[in-house]
């Protein structure tokens, strides 16, 4: 009984680690890899181009758990900090990334828009987009 319990706890713990976030891009992008820092600059709209292609980052809604993880691991900001950041950018005429409602829409958007960049979990990945970065995050 105790052994079973230990195994269950171990499996739960194991399950809670090791989730991946994939940063995906349109197939026409002339790069195959981005660093975390580059992704951060792209999502803060400080980096606008990759070799003359205008980038179009897309976000999930602020309440989406994957967006919260993306904010935490890539942007290293919470929602309140981001809102203050975008207040400042608004004052300079720079809009935040487009928000889409689901990961499926993100894949669809990125596959169709030339400079499209998004983030998804592996189960939504298909051949219409390419993976630019894989980030290991805690599941919960």
């Amino acid at each position: 009984m105790i052994k079973k319990l230990i195994i269950i706890i171990f499996l739960i713990c194991f399950e809670s680690f090791g989730e991946e976030i994939l940063i995906i891009g349109n197939k026409s992008l002339p790069v195959d890899h981005l660093s975390k820092h580059e992704v951060k600059l792209i999502y803060l709209k400080k980096k606008l181009f990759i070799k003359n292609i205008k980038l179009v980052p897309v976000n999930l809604s602020p309440f989406n758990p994957l967006r919260k993880k993306f904010n935490k691991y890539i942007l290293k900001m919470d929602n309140e900090q981001l809102n203050l950041y975008w207040n400042k950018m608004y004052f300079y005429g720079i809009d935040p990334p487009v928000v889409l409602s689901s990961q499926r829409s993100v894949v669809e958007f990125v596959s169709k828009i030339k400079g499209g960049i998004g983030y998804i979990t592996p189960k939504y990945l298909n051949k219409k987009v390419k993976v630019l970065l894989v980030i290991e995050v805690e599941k919960n």
Binding site: S35, H37, E38, L41, K46, K47, L48, F49, N52, K54, K76, M77, D78, E80, Q81, N83, L84, W86, N87, K88, Y90, F91, Y92, G93, D95, P96
Partner: protein
């Protein structure tokens, strides 16, 4: 003058008309992020601020201090347009206490001034609804490493000056460091962007002005000859900036040089920022009229949407032997991210006036 006023009224009416006459599909409005019409590359937004100040000398000021309209957008993939048009101090009601001796400065200086000193109370109301162009520029985005801005823009120096409007500032009272050393606005050309090394963790901006401002009404210092720049390095949660510049002050007709350093540390709940400025007059008969100033400010998110601000500020002017020490405690409540309610208290000791001043200020500001 009236033309501009009518223009603003027309523009606002236009916005309201359109916001009611189109269906939701054709309009994208987000509170605090402006309004955008389908098939129009421009976004329309703005901000508004009202404040109340009271000093230990029983002076007060109620001020509808800012109302501005922003119009901006990407014209093409590589070009952007930005216009800010606004009115400052739309309605001011204030009470000031002034020393009568100020008007008799040339009288015998040996007299005991304290005995003759009389004060009088001045109460006044002002209404000013003349909109002015605050910023007007075009950007050409050649690459991330070279962006070019032409027009009237905010002088890209320091931490405070680039976000000096009430809904964005942490406190209502500006530190002297951000207001006395260089003109807040520049009309000319600016080159800016990332630097292509060290993982793009450096940013630069260089600007030059060789003409009068598009509109200088809202500029703190008037100039038509200004050159400067700043370089900034970003670490994980820290940024450090170094700024240099020189300009001709049209009012005192002197050349001024300045150098500045700034530092910012940010983590989830805390932001610590500091700025130091040193200014020097050139071609002057005075041996040394250097001025320097710094502030150190901490902003702590006590709980969600509520921020405590503590600030120490110092200003020194060599020639006048003037030193100012100021301490500020403030509270900034943001019930919704585009709204800011501020409450603050500042104690200031001025070595020339030889008396401490207390200033209480509160404000409401909003981005829409």
């Amino acid at each position: 003058m009236y033309g501009r006023k009518n223009f603003l009224i027309l523009l606002i009416s236009f916005l309201f008309l359109f916001s009611f006459s189109f269906s939701e599909d054709l309009i994208d409005y987000q509170f605090g992020r402006g309004i955008k019409f389908k098939n129009c590359p421009l976004r329309f937004g703005g901000y508004f601020a009202v404040k109340y100040e009271n000093t230990s000398q029983d002076e007060y000021e109620f001020n509808i201090e800012d109302a501005a309209l922003l119009i901006y957008g990407d014209l093409t993939q590589k070009t952007r347009f930005f216009l800010e048009i606004g009115a400052k101090e739309l309605y001011v009601k204030k009470k000031e206490i002034e020393d009568e001796e100020d008007e008799n400065e040339n009288e015998d200086e040996d007299e005991d001034k304290d005995e003759d000193k009389k004060t009088f109370i001045k109460e006044e109301k002002e209404l000013n609804i003349k909109p002015k162009i605050e910023r007007l520029y075009f950007d050409y985005l050649y690459s991330d490493y070279l962006k070019i801005r032409i027009g009237q823009f905010i002088t890209p120096i320091g931490l405070w000056n680039p976000v000096h409007i009430p809904p964005l500032k942490w406190t209502l009272i500006d530190p002297v460091t951000a207001t006395k050393f260089f003109p807040r606005l520049t009309t000319g050309i600016k080159f800016f962007g990332l630097l292509p090394f060290q993982n793009e963790t450096w940013e630069y901006s260089l600007f030059i002005q060789k003409t009068k401002n598009i509109n200088e009404t809202h500029n703190n210092l008037k100039t038509d000859d200004f050159i400067g720049g700043e370089i900034k390095k970003y670490f994980e949660s820290v940024s450090v900036g170094l700024a240099l510049g020189k300009f001709k002050d049209k009012q005192i007709k002197k050349d001024l040089n300045f150098v500045g350093l700034n530092f910012d540390f940010t983590c989830t709940r805390l932001e610590v920022m500091a700025e130091y400025m040193h200014g020097k007059e050139k071609d002057t008969n005075i041996d040394n009229n250097d001025r320097s100033s710094y502030y150190l400010q901490g902003v702590y998110r006590v709980f969600s949407k509520n921020y405590l601000i503590l600030r120490k500020e110092y200003f020194k002017e060599v020639y006048n032997k003037n030193k100012i020490n100021a301490y500020l405690i403030g509270w900034n409540y943001r019930p919704l991210y585009p709204i800011s309610l501020k409450l603050e208290l500042q104690w200031k000791k001025d070595s020339v006036k030889k008396e401490s001043e207390r200033e209480f200020a509160t404000s409401f500001s909003i981005l829409f």
